[in-house]
Amino acid sequence: MSIEKLQPFLAPSYENFPKGRTIGVVVLRTTQSETIFRTEGTGEPMCSEYVQAGVQNTESISRLVMTKRKQVAPERRKGREFLRSHELLYTAPKSDSICALNTNAPCEMCIDCFLYGFAAGGEGAQKSRVWTEDAFSVLPSTELIGDRTINAIFETGTMRDEKGNASTALNTSEYIKPGVHFLDIVTLKDVTADELRYALGNILLTSRYGAVSSRVGRMENQILGIFGGIAELPSSLELVQGVYDKLAADGKALEHPFKTEPLIAAAKSVIATWTNKRGISMQLSADELDALIADVDRNWSLNEQETFLKRLDRSYASLRKVKSEGKKKGRDQQQEE
């Protein structure tokens, strides 16, 4: 029932104008297998950036980056899998086909379209109310990258084919090691309680990120803190910097593999100080956070999933009555302002 505690920062129903209600979610993303994040295609190095190590420690280090677009796409896809299976994706007005991501033909009516937005397709455009941020590795990238030589072996089991020609498919490729921690902040703006459950469910249920492949990119997401307020939390870069300072001050050796428990403890102690910052009104306590995650799990459970998704889907029903009532709706919105 801890969702009650967030009530002042949740919308009672979808509203078209921003009202400053902000939910901040601190997420720890841990790789469970080899993972690949690149900004430029195949063969390019892993996505990393030189940034200041800590807030106090001003030395520059290279950190791995999981860009915001690399996070949100798989998480949306995860939610859409369930929408598709419960037939909650609508037919796009423009193409006469079922709502699909990135195809210039959003349905404009499904939960995903309402919450994560779509660019001008048919009738209009919807801004996303889920704001992601580039996530950073806590440790320097030099610790976290492995190199693999890929040699394509012929059916003979050797590097030479029957005619004795050497395999040319010899390549080295970089990957991010398993057990790498990324810290991240997700901001939800003016969402309803069920939209919050939906977005959190997508984060918790998504387990594959990065380059498209069935064998790599396993990742586990854990929610370390949830804030309700009228302003945004500090950036994820400042979060990893704060955690780096904290770990260094505790005398921890910053080398891979790094245990998750001390990392979580450090991250939680850093975010605990955020409640005093301007405009940030409250953080859920550990028990409240557990209760909220249990609430999300319950709503996504096999028994309740359909009820939950259909209830959320129905919440947009009045907004789907379009065109003929368009003018009247416009007036209502002005009154609401």
Binding site: N16, F17, P18, G20, T39, E40, G41, E49, V51, T67, K68, R69, A73, R76, R77, R80, S95, D96, S97, A100, L101, N102, T103, N104, G117, A119, A120, E123, G124, A125, Q126, K127, S128, R129, W131, E133, D134, D190, V212, A231, E232, L233, P234, S235, S236, L237, E238, K277, R278, G279, V322, G326, Q333
Partner: protein, 263 residues
């Protein structure tokens, strides 16, 4: 001399703002605006426009969902001109004079198991493939009117910009700007007083939005940064009334859209 004093006193009383604040914007993330398009590359200029900043600061609320006319038409006049007497912000300039950029490839993928890259489009209707092979152009294979692949030139993380905020509205600690709602930290550096300067010839050392300059101002020379929605001027020499704000000299009476209402 008494006459000049009278003039000064008069323009003083007309000052819409008593103070301004010099603020610094720190890019916690790469920032992208589609300022220019060259082939499949989308360029961000090394500045942040003041209309984007006004929305980002929460001075105007644009709706989450745009419908009908609003999708193809900006609402700057309705949203920003009513702010004229309350607040104003200049376009932000890079503190070292030149922003650094990075390039990134983008590639939109579909959520279907089968897809094909066609003319600037991700096709997902596998059943259309045989039709396409016969030379027909099924709907799902036609070019898209928005880019699904290409390169982005973005302002790199860590760049610092400065700008002046007029009026005394509270400024949030973090704002979101650009097409990917990138996080930017706002630090208040110092409070500055505004002193009106008499008619004369001046050189402006800040960035200005071309649409916000009073129509009576005589522009002598400037560099133009051409970008939507409003081109920016830098190194402006002008003749007219001016404001001295700390070390900055600006044309007097800057207002969003020059204060025009619904023309």
């Amino acid at each position: 001399m008494p006459q000049l004093e009278l003039l000064l006193a008069e323009s003083d009383s007309k000052l819409p703002f008593q103070t301004a604040r010099l603020v610094e914007l720190w890019c916690a993330e790469p920032v992208f605006f589609a300022s220019r398009e060259l082939s499949d590359t989308y360029y961000t200029e090394g500045t942040i426009g003041n209309y984007a900043l006004a929305y980002a600061l929460g001075w105007a609320r644009s709706p989450y969902r745009l419908t009908g006319q609003d999708t193809g038409r900006p609402r700057y006049l309705e949203d920003l001109t009513p702010l004229a007497e309350q607040c104003y912000i200049l376009p932000a300039w890079h503190i070292e004079g030149n922003a650094s950029f990075r390039f990134e490839r983008f590639n939109a993928l579909s959520d279907s198991y089968w897809y094909a890259m066609t003319n600037n489009r991700v096709a997902t209707a596998r059943e259309d493939l045989p039709l396409k092979r016969t030379g027909k152009k099924p709907n799902t294979f036609r070019p898209s009117n928005f880019p699904q692949t290409g390169r982005l030139r973005m302002i790199e993380r860590g760049n610092r910009f400065q700008t002046l905020v007029f009026g005394d509205r509270e400024v949030p600690e973090y704002i979101r700007v650009g097409k990917f709602t990138s996080k930017v930290r706002v630090d208040l550096l110092r409070k500055l007083t505004i002193t009106p300067l008499p008619q004369g010839e001046y050189r402006c050392n800040a960035y200005l939005s071309a649409a916000d300059i009073p129509s009576s101002l005589e522009l002598l020379a400037f560099d133009l940064i051409s970008m939507p929605p409003v081109s920016l001027l830098k190194n402006l020499r002008f003749r007219g009334a001016a404001w001295q704000v700390g070390d900055f000299i600006l044309p007097a009476n800057l207002k969003f859209c020059g204060g025009r209402n619904n023309e």
